[in-house]
């Protein structure tokens, strides 16, 4: 695989930050009670991840090794502040719904993990692509989890789309089915854990099939521990 293809493959599937590396689980489980909440936080994380990867990659040769972590954290924190102010200005209701979880993007381990493991060792274009793909991988899981929880819990999809896209989007809400009483457990935190577990199980179940489909059938199957950092930099 070429480096570009490998980065895409790693970010979306093989080394997905949410369902393989299991990073950033706190926002992942806390805000995914609707698709729109998941999408909003996913986009915010994606921007921060891409921005921090690019910035770290540009300045990587000037950062002394001993203080790299504080520098990374400061870069990420500035980017999160930018995203927070932007959301405050343009998607105020969504900003209020997501609440504390926007500033908490700073503590999302997926972001500092990529800065440390990838961006500090690779050039600008590859780092930007890695940030985009890891962010997308995270976003897809957020949206998927949000969709399942919203559908099972409320019977709706895309409720509150106007929070993110403006007033015209309020027609996007789909009432898939009506419940006499909502299935609250899916919307509450325990449901998030259970559904997350089921998503990971499904991923593991279809892993081999999809891997064969993407890479081709000639690779040997070896069972190894999932590596959290630094795998793609060796490629």
């Amino acid at each position: 695989m070429s480096p570009t293809k490998d980065i895409i493959w790693q970010g979306i599937w093989k080394n997905n930050p949410a369902i393989v590396q299991m990073l950033g689980l706190c926002p992942l489980l806390a805000v995914t009670n609707t698709v729109i909440n998941g999408l909003g936080l996913g986009i915010a994380t994606l921007f921060v991840l891409m921005g921090s990867n690019m910035t770290v990659s540009i300045v990587r040769n000037w950062i002394p090794n001993e203080i790299r972590i504080p520098v990374f954290v400061m870069i990420i924190a500035s980017l999160v502040t930018i995203v927070q102010l932007l959301m405050n200005a343009y998607t105020y209701e969504l900003y209020q719904t997501l609440g504390i979880f926007i500033p908490l993007i700073v503590t999302n381990c997926a972001i500092i993990g990529r800065a440390e493991a990838f961006a500090s060792k690779n050039n600008l274009t590859l780092s930007a692509l890695d940030g985009l793909m890891m962010g997308l991988g995270f976003l897809v899981v957020l949206v998927l989890l949000g969709a399942i929880r919203e559908l099972v819990g409320n019977g709706t999809l895309l409720s509150g789309a106007e929070l993110l896209f403006g007033d015209w989007a309020s027609d996007l809400t789909i009432q898939a089915f009506e419940f006499e009483q909502n299935f609250l457990v899916a919307i509450l935190p325990p449901g998030a854990f259970i559904i997350m577990g089921l998503i990971i199980a499904a991923k593991n179940h279809y892993n081999q099939k999809i891997e064969n489909l993407v890479i081709g059938n000639n690779e040997k199957v070896t069972i190894s521990r999932a590596r959290v950092t630094g795998e793609s930099s060796e490629a």
Binding site: E180, Q181, N182, F183, L184, V185, A186, L188, P190, I194
Partner: protein
């Protein structure tokens, strides 16, 4: 005569899982009959729905896992899970409540962990908790004893309410629960919880129509019936005395201390022991051989821990009944309890 060489444990009486499960199910019968007598046929319908769904879910899961279906169904464990869940559900709750609870109990709590013997949590109680936090309204609408209802409820009415929401004459569950003065009646524990938080005293609450005995009509008899079934199980040595006894003494003791300290704001010890699910839980829920502690010392700790949790949640928590939560919390502690109460091996020190 032939000599058999077998590894430990060398049990003198060899009992199959199916026999144990069957005996526990049989021992429920007096309690179920008492429940039907005081609360109507709804109980039987709920049990039927839950048992059928559990068996179907179990068969489907086992098939999906490529195991033989018949031996798994014939160990009666799915039947027992459905039975226990059906007993715990309010008699006139909508039918889909029992279905969702049973599917969750069997598929997620039992089969996903690997089937009988592998589950960490008590399936029936985990299913019950999911229902309680998902559908708090339906799951707390208990019917008062039939004798103080303003309407008669026939078997057909029960069917109609469970499957359509309204009885033959068009009464809803809320109307059945309203007394002649227009007050909604709840379970004794629920009434006390609400009353105490409204600054009423315990002795004032006992004047309400739902308490025409010391512990609330109907509930005491149901609890006594389950106690009878439990004693039969003890006598047949299907269950050990450690868990039920430590639970009952723990709950009674704690309630007594609290009652003596503040008689007007506490649930009385007799109420604590003979209302709600106390006796049913002590002999039928806590003693689940898979998710309970397995050492004798551990069983005592397990029973006491659940008693403490039930006491705390009933008196200070948000829910009037606490057995299901207490059991799940204690299930989580079981590996730790078992680790520290491992019996000493013969010939080894400490």
């Amino acid at each position: 005569m032939s000599f058999r060489v077998s590894s430990s444990p060398h049990n003198r009486v060899q009992r199959k899982t199916a026999n144990v499960m069957q005996a526990v199910a049989l021992a429920c019968i007096p309690g179920i009959l008492a429940q039907v007598w005081y609360f109507g046929f709804g109980v039987l319908i709920q049990i039927l729905i839950a048992v059928l769904t559990c068996l179907a879910a179990e068969a489907l899961c086992v098939r999906k896992r490529n195991r033989a279906v018949t031996p798994v169904i014939k160990d009666y464990s799915a039947l027992l899970t459905g039975l226990l869940l059906g007993i715990s559900i309010p008699p006139l709750a909508p039918w889909w409540i029992a279905v969702i609870g049973s599917i969750f109990a069997i598929v997620i709590v039992k089969q996903l962990y690997g089937g009988l013997g592998q589950n960490v949590f008590n399936p029936a109680m985990a299913g019950y908790v999911v229902l309680l936090i998902s559908f708090p309204v339906s799951m707390t609408l208990w019917l008062p004893p039939l004798s103080i209802l303003s309407y008669d409820i026939s078997l057909i009415d029960c069917f109609m309410v469970i499957f359509t929401g309204y009885s033959e004459q068009g009464y809803s569950l809320t109307q059945f629960r309203t007394d002649l003065d227009g007050f909604t009646m709840a379970t004794p524990l629920d009434t006390i919880k609400t009353g105490l938080s409204n600054q009423q005293t315990y002795s004032e609450l006992l004047n309400l129509s739902i308490f025409s005995g010391a512990t609330g009509q109907g509930w005491m008899q149901v609890n006594l019936a389950y106690l009878m079934g439990g004693i039969w199980l003890l006598q047949r040595k299907i269950i050990n005395w450690h868990i039920p006894l430590s639970f009952i003494f723990g709950l009674g003791g704690l309630s007594l201390i609290y009652f003596l300290a503040s008689p007007d704001s506490a649930i009385t010890p007799s109420m604590a022991l003979f209302s709600g699910a106390t006796m049913f839980a002590a002999f039928f829920i806590l003693t689940d051989p898979v998710s309970a502690s397995t050492t004798n010392k551990g069983r005592v700790i397990y029973g006491l821990l659940i008693a403490l949790l039930v006491f705390v949640i009933r008196n200070f928590g948000g829910y009037p009944e606490a057995v299901a939560f207490a059991v799940l919390l204690a299930n989580m502690c079981v590996p730790l309890i078992d680790y520290y109460t491992k019996p000493r091996t013969y010939g080894h020190v400490g």
